[in-house]
C-alpha cells in the first residue's frame, strides 16, 4: 500500500493508529471503505446541506425584496446550525481504526436535525404568512 495522504488523517498527527504513527500507516481496503463512507456522510451530505442553506440565504438577501431580508437571515442561521450539528456528529462517530467499540447509530443527531429544521420551518412559515 502507498503512504496515506496526510490530510486524510486529520490534525491529530501525534496519535497512533493501530500502533502506527500517521506517517508510516498503511490503510487496508476495509478501512479505506469505512473512511470513504464517513467522508460521503460528513463531508458530502452534511456539508452540502449547510452550503445549500447558505447559498439560498445569500440569494434571498441579495436578490429579493427587502421584505425577505429576515427570511434569508434565517436560512443562514439554519446553515450554521447544520454545520455545528455536523461537527458534533463527526466527533461522536467512532474511530475508523478502532473497530472494537460498538457502533452507535445517528438517531439522536437525526432527531436534533429534525428539531432544528422544524423550528426553522415554523418560524419561516409564520414570517411568510405575515408578510
Amino acid at each position: 500500500m502507498d503512504k496515506v495522504n496526510q490530510h486524510l488523517l486529520g490534525p491529530r498527527k501525534h496519535r497512533l493508529y493501530r500502533g502506527h504513527r500517521a506517517k508510516s500507516l498503511s490503510i487496508t481496503e476495509e478501512e479505506l471503505v469505512e473512511i470513504r463512507a464517513r467522508e460521503r456522510t460528513f463531508d458530502g451530505a452534511y456539508w452540502r446541506t449547510a452550503m445549500k442553506s447558505f447559498s439560498a440565504g445569500m440569494i434571498i438577501i441579495r436578490l429579493f425584496a427587502h421584505v425577505f431580508y429576515k427570511i434569508g437571515i434565517i436560512f443562514v442561521a439554519f446553515g450554521m446550525a447544520i454545520l455545528g450539528i455536523s461537527i458534533l456528529r463527526r466527533r461522536a462517530a467512532g474511530d475508523v481504526f478502532d473497530q472494537r467499540a460498538p457502533f452507535v447509530t445517528s438517531g439522536f443527531w437525526v432527531m436534533m436535525t429534525t428539531l432544528v429544521s422544524t423550528v426553522t420551518y415554523g418560524i419561516m412559515f409564520v414570517m411568510i404568512m405575515s408578510l
Partner: protein, 259 residues
Amino acid sequence: MNELEQHPLDVAAQSPLPKRPLSTTIPKGNVSFSDDSRNWSKENPVTQNQTPSSTTSELRNRQENRPTASTATSNINTCSTANTSSINNTTTGAESAGSPKQLSRRNTGPGGRLLPEEEEEEPEPLRWTSRLSSFIREIYDQCSPSLTLENKGSIARDHLANERTYLAWLRTSLSMITVGVAITQLFRLQSESGTPTKKLIKIAELGRPLGTSRYFHSQTVLSYGQFPASRGSVILATVTVLAVLLACFIIVILQGRAS
C-alpha cells in the same frame, strides 16, 4: 513486614502461588520480604530453574482470576473476539446478537440496544452533580433514539447511508422552501409592477399560500425522510409535487386570462 501489610491485590487473589517454605521458617522477629526471598532462594537452589516458569504461569492465572477493573474493557474484549470470529459473515447486527460470546442484548430498550452490565453500586454517597449526570445518562439511555450495534461487516456503512438519505430528503425540502419563497417574491413583484387591480392582488394573495403549501409539503417530506425510503413516501412526494405544479400552472393561466 507483617502479613497485614501485604499488597491488597495479593490479598484479593488469595495467593494461588504454592506455599513457600519460608512461611514455616519465618522467625518471630522483624524480617523484611526481600530478605525472605533471598533466604528462600538460598535454601532451595535446586528448584530455582523450575520456579520462574511455574511462577509466571501462576501469575498469569492470578491475573485472569482477578476481578476485572471495568466492564467496558470486558465488553471491548468480547467485541474483538466477535469481530475475529465472524468477520466473513454478512449478517446484520440483529441476527447475530444471540450467541453468548458476543455482546449481550437487552430487549427492554427500543431497538435492542446494547447495555453494559450493571456495576456494583458504590456505598459512598455521591455528589449531587454526579448523581444528576448519572440520572440524565440513565434517562438518555432509556429514551435515546440511537441504537448501539456491533461494529462489524457493513453495519456502520449501512447506517451512515441511511443518514445520508435523510440528509438528501432534508436538502430536497430546503430547495422546495427556496422555490416557495421565490414564487412568493414573484407574485409580489407582479402585484406591485402590474396594474393594481383588485383581482391581481387577490391572485397575489393566492400566491402566498402556494408558497407556504410548499412548506407543508416539505415538512411531510422531512418526516418521511426519517424512515428508509419506501414506495409510499416516493409516491406521496411525487403526487404532492405534481399537484403543486398543476396549481401553479392553473394560477398562472387564470392570471393571464384576468389581465
